[in-house]
């Protein structure tokens, strides 16, 4: 028996025994199907992943032995354990022959003790749900750590939970960084991607002092110009002089073009970009090596870390991932942790501040389901705000408030079913593994069923049906994952995706050309299509904002709303894209739409400083210059000339 084959079928025409077995196995956490009719039993077997069949040898119409013999071509011994039962045919020769013919694992002579029958079946993973000590999976335990508060015991628990982590998702990394910073750890976090790339973060008493990624781009030049610390021509001059083995920063300091302090600020920004680039949409392995690390500069202290953390969650973590991530806790009460206080700076960051009343909602004992049902917030901003608070350790989910205890469990199960339904088996397994959080298929499936909770009571038929459907989908995905077909399908999906991505890339390029020609509507259509296929296209968010702002009618009533949306989109631009000419150009466009011409000009100038060939930025600067000139003319011109100009033939 493997995976989550915790479903049992009892085929027995003695209703007393049938009911007794059903009750006993249900108590043990199994999903139990019971019938006295062989035809119905067959149907159940074909529709459900039954792991064990209890069958009476003497049934109406057919003998139990013949029934099982007929099943074996479809249900091998590995798939289905059979336990024969009989009170009449009990002689040694019959038992021996029946066991041989059916490949049954056991023969129970009636009457037997129900407890003996129960011990014959490997207990299902659901059993853990009823044990007094719930052992959380390391990844789930990770997200509960902030609720433990401070103290030596809590510190050790944090350390041990970090040590216990193995394979996690790249989107879990901000939480791990936050935990290391909060617990004032010292040492090295080593991260290995599925492609074999290595990343490393070094911390000294909770201050990040080093980030190592195999980075081809340093971003240093862009950062220096963006900050305004260095002029492009000065940078070019230093770059063209012989380096004599010194880094660009040192050469700038030596040439007195930048102060050591300013360089540290820039290098901290560079670390931010590098950290941001570790937050990837794929599985990674991590380990933490404790070490006495000296506090050095540049570094990222806790205050600066908070703003970086905000940006990563706003820009890097996908909504789809967050939605699945929170599914396991959606029926748990949200509560404040010991770290929560009303003046915490995280509460004043845009992700939280832009959602009025969010703090009241998440700190008064409501569940996520209840908050979603209130329809007070849109899903994406809500998940992001919640995740930001969770990652800062300000809220946690009540361990005790499991799905089982919650009144809205049915709704929760339907949500899970909704997420799984229509997905192929590879996608289903990926989703299960995101919830369960481990690379080992057997472990994933067991952990997933643990998250589902025990089978709902038999009288809640609809809920039992949804529960069984989820378990069936999970079982099918698990079986498929174990078989060789998985890699084949994965390859096919990857090939299909590649073709779609190539198409999306070409749509993206076409959209960029359309934007240059100010054809915003067509560009927006193409950009939306491209983003739908590949949200990771380089700077696609920025081009989307460009197109949206291009369509803003300055005289329309929707202007302010459109600008607010554009500003929110800009919050979600990852740090590595914020030091690019296109970013400043787009921010300039938003400022211009707000009629904030001074800041618009600054941003267009920055865009030009980073990329002197950016024609669109130059064009915008000319437009702004002529606007300024017109304004000046009106104010400073001689009244006679001014009045004359109104009537002058153009």
């Amino acid at each position: 028996m493997s995976g989550l084959r915790n479903q049992i079928l009892i085929l027995e025409d003695d209703s007393t025994l049938l009911n007794a077995l059903q009750a006993a196995f249900s108590r043990e956490g199994f999903i139990v199907h019971a019938t006295s009719r062989p035809s119905e039993a067959k149907e159940i077997l074909h529709k459900n992943p039954i792991g064990t069949l209890f069958i009476d040898c003497l049934l109406p119409d057919v003998s139990g032995v013949e029934f099982v013999e007929g099943l074996r071509p479809d249900f091998s011994e590995d798939q289905l354990d059979v336990i024969l039962m009989s009170g009449i045919f009990t002689d040694q020769a019959f038992v021996k022959e029946a066991l041989r013919a059916t490949s049954a694992v056991q023969f129970l002579k009636k009457p037997f003790d129900i407890k003996d029958a129960v011990t014959l079946v490997e207990k299902p993973v659901l059993e853990n749900q009823t044990s007094s000590k719930i052992i959380l999976h390391p990844r789930k335990a990770l997200y509960q750590l902030f609720s433990k508060g401070a103290g030596k015991g809590a510190l050790r628990e944090k350390k041990k939970t970090l040590e216990a982590l193995d394979e996690i998702h790249g989107f879990d990394l901000p939480f791990i960084y936050s935990l290391i910073v909060e617990s004032k750890s010292s040492g090295h976090l080593n991260i290995a991607s599925a492609q074999g790339e290595l990343y490393g973060i070094t911390v000294s008493h909770g201050v990040i002092v080093g980030v190592d990624i195999p980075d081809k781009e340093t971003y240093l030049g862009k950062l220096l110009i963006d900050s305004g610390f260095v002029l492009p021509e000065d940078l070019n001059q230093v770059m063209s002089s012989p380096s004599q083995g010194r880094k660009i920063g040192e050469r700038l300091v030596q040439s007195s073009l930048i102060s050591p302090h300013a360089l540290d600020i820039i290098l901290a920004q560079q670390m931010n970009i590098r950290l941001s680039r570790t937050i990837i949409d794929q599985r990674v392995n991590v380990n933490f090596v404790e070490d006495d690390v000296e506090l050095t500069s540049p570094n990222i202290d806790t205050d600066v870390f908070l703003t970086f953390l905000h940006d990563w969650i706003a820009s890097k973590i996908s909504s789809a991932w967050l939605k699945t991530h929170f599914l396991q806790w959606s029926s748990c009460q949200i509560r404040k942790t010991p770290l929560y206080n009303d003046s915490h700076p995280a509460l004043r960051m845009p992700l939280v501040e832009k959602l009025p009343q969010i703090v009241e909602y998440v700190t008064n004992g409501k569940t996520l389901n209840q908050i979603l049902d209130s329809n007070h917030f849109q899903e994406e901003p809500l998940y992001k705000a919640l995740h930001f608070l969770l990652t800062n350790g300000l809220i946690s989910f009540d361990e005790g408030g499991s799905a089982e205890a919650s009144a809205d469990r049915f709704k929760w199960l339907k949500k899970i079913y909704g997420q799984l339904h229509g997905k192929n088996k590879v996608e289903t397994f990926e989703l299960m593994s995101q919830m369960a959080g481990s690379g080992d298929p057997e472990f994933i499936v067991k952990e997933f069923v643990k998250i589902l909770g025990p089978q709902p009571p038999a009288d809640q038929k609809e809920m039992v049906q949804v529960y069984s459907q989820i378990v069936n989908l999970a079982q099918q995905a698990y079986d498929f994952n174990k078989s060789g077909s998985r890699d084949k399908l994965k390859d096919e999906i990857a090939k299909g995706e590649m073709e779609l991505k190539l198409k999306a890339a070409s749509q993206f390029e076409e959209a960029k050309n359309l934007l240059q020609k100010s054809l915003f509507r067509q560009a927006l259509e193409l950009l939306k299509k491209a983003k739908g296929v590949d949200p990771n296209l380089d700077k696609i968010r920025l081009y989307l904002v460009w197109a949206k702002v291009g369509l803003v009618d300055p005289n329309s009533q929707q202007r302010d709303q459109a600008i607010r949306e554009a500003e929110m989109d800009l919050v979600q631009v990852p740090p590595e894209e914020k030091f690019d000419a296109i970013y400043h150009y787009v921010v300039g466009l938003v400022c211009k739409a707000k009629q904030d011409y001074q800041n618009a000009r600054k941003h267009f100038e920055k865009a030009m400083a980073i990329d002197s060939n950016m024609i669109v930025a130059r064009r915008e600067l000319s437009v702004l210059a002529s606007k300024a000139a017109q304004k000046r003319d009106v104010l400073s011109a001689d009244l006679k000339d001014l009045v004359g100009s109104f009537f002058r033939k153009k």
């Binding site: 040590e163 080593n190 290995a192 074999g196 490393g200 190592d212 380990n287 090596v289 080992d440």
Partner: protein
């Protein structure tokens, strides 16, 4: 001594290497090529720390042993973690001969590293931990690692 120390005994083709200290971006393996070795024995009990830059350097360096058998002795936990996580940290021709396993007693808070040796506490496919590990006060200690993660390399 600086942050690290590497000693290579090339008196015979069976090279004996001892590494101690910190393995990070400052480590320079260039002077310690392992090419030409018939076999390499590494004593790692004194390695204190390793980061991602050090791991990259390590993989490049250990590759200089080519196909020669490489044996890792007295691996501390931080080395076992890298063996389990990073492809190539233990080369294809490599084998762990002994490694430390942390033990802990929850009541007294005592910690201890117990050396597991090939053929005794572990084999190519199984771990046979000592029947009982006690601290200095005689308290029974428990293994302080997630076994499925820590002993992963044994099934590699």
């Amino acid at each position: 001594m600086g942050k690290y120390e590497i000693k290579v005994d090339k008196a015979t083709p069976q090279y004996k290497v001892t590494i101690s200290g910190v393995v990070d971006e400052d480590i320079d393996f260039n002077a310690y090529s392992l090419s030409g070795a018939a076999s390499v024995d590494l004593q790692l009990g004194m390695v204190k720390s390793i980061n991602s830059c050090g791991i990259r350097e390590w993989i490049k360096w250990i590759g200089t042993a080519g196909t020669a058998p490489v044996k890792y002795h007295q691996c501390p936990k931080i080395i076992v973690d890298q063996i389990n996580m990073v492809q190539g940290f233990l080369p294809a021709s490599g084998k762990v001969m002994s490694f430390y396993v942390p033990y802990y007693n929850e009541d007294s808070g005592s910690e201890k590293n117990v050396l597991f040796t090939y053929g005794k506490e572990f084999t190519d496919s199984a771990v046979n931990p000592p029947a009982a590990v006690k601290d200095d006060e005689g308290n029974v200690m428990e293994m302080d690692v997630v076994e499925a993660k820590y002993f992963k390399f044994i099934k590699k």
